[in-house]
Assembly symmetry: C2
Homo-oligomer: 212 residues x 2
């Protein structure tokens, strides 16, 4: 229950690692179950946020036994982090479709992060559910969370160097921005700032940190 280690991806669970392999070896019925589970999760999270994603309810809506749900996703956290991974993946491909506009580095980063932030805020309850899961993630989901962070980092770094010219510390700056981004989401979830403040604060950080 604590943040203790875990066997390095035993052959037991067909899921747990979204990254790659082992998903190939699934039968089509299994792929369908996994998809139904994620669909149900997104539906419940969109409607009622983190608390509304109840494992029994997810299982029922997915037409899957509770034990099976746990076989595919060993915890509620895994389930929601997986949802976030696929969500962020979609976001990344959409945002990266074209080069971010803007003459300065700050402008381009602003463009990308504002789009991302607004995209998430369009479904506040879903975002609440996913961000809460990211916060609560322990070592057993570290790999997935790192993957999500990596995806967002790529987005930011690419925006910073518009065409070429990589600037020193780009990666570190992206990491800081992501920390701010994340911390501001938490402040919003914690009722300390409201949705509009989230972007205002992130933008302020960009202006202060991303220099040309």
């Amino acid at each position: 229950m604590t943040s203790t280690a875990q066997p390095p991806v035993g052959t037991a669970h067909p899921a747990a690692d979204i990254s790659s392999a082992a998903l190939e070896s699934e039968t089509s019925a299994q792929r369908a179950r996994r998809a139904r589970i994620l669909t149900a999760t997104l539906a419940l999270a969109s409607r009622g946020g983190y608390d509304a994603v109840q494992m029994r309810e997810v299982a029922e809506r997915s037409e899957v036994a509770l034990g099976t749900l746990y076989r595919y996703f060993p915890s509620k956290i895994h389930l929601l982090v997986s949802a976030m991974a696929s969500e962020v993946e979609g976001l990344a491909t959409r945002v990266q479709k074209r080069q971010a506009p803007g003459g300065t580095r700050a402008e381009r980063v602003s463009f990308v992060l504002e789009r991302s932030t607004r995209s998430l805020q369009r479904e506040p309850l879903l975002t609440e559910a996913m961000v809460r899961a990211m916060m609560a993630a322990d070592a057993s989901v570290a790999a997935q969370v790192t993957g999500i962070r990596q995806g967002m980092s790529d987005l930011i770094v690419q925006a910073m160097r518009g065409g070429g010219d990589p600037v020193e510390h780009d990666v570190e700056i992206a990491a800081i921005l992501q920390d701010v981004w994340f911390a501001r989401q938490i402040a919003w979830l914690g009722g300390r700032i409201d949705a509009t403040d989230v972007w205002r604060d992130i933008h302020q950080a960009i202006v202060l940190i991303v220099l040309d």
Copy 2:
């Protein structure tokens, strides 16, 4: 259970707001109970972290009924956030005893934040418990969390302007540093980085952000 609002500090709970008043009106027996509860909480958290702080166990060790515990602290989150508030308060007075040494703004901030970080890491499990609570805080503890943030912000701002000369954006920069500080703690709790990396990353952020 969700982040919905709540009555603006009803007369029901003698605690909930650490800030001020209402604590005055406590009898000495009540002050003693509150102290016992916080002591038990710190002991359990120090020994076993967030999961070890079990409400029944806290009640038992405090020699208080479970219902009474909930009267003083309406949730586990409130309990641990209160613990963190008093912990940070102690930290602040200790650190602010003397002016931070260092010739540059960055050096002074580094000094203060390193001391704070190391101080917390001396009790990793306690820190884990408190940080987890801060993350999970919903609107009902927003005021206390804001207070904690304010305390840390003061610490940082004061370090930045060593003697006089307040520099533009000091407060905003302090906020960013605190976001980084917090996000790095979460990364550590999530098993994505280890304890030594926490300070390394924070220091890197200071170097990049706090300019002279």
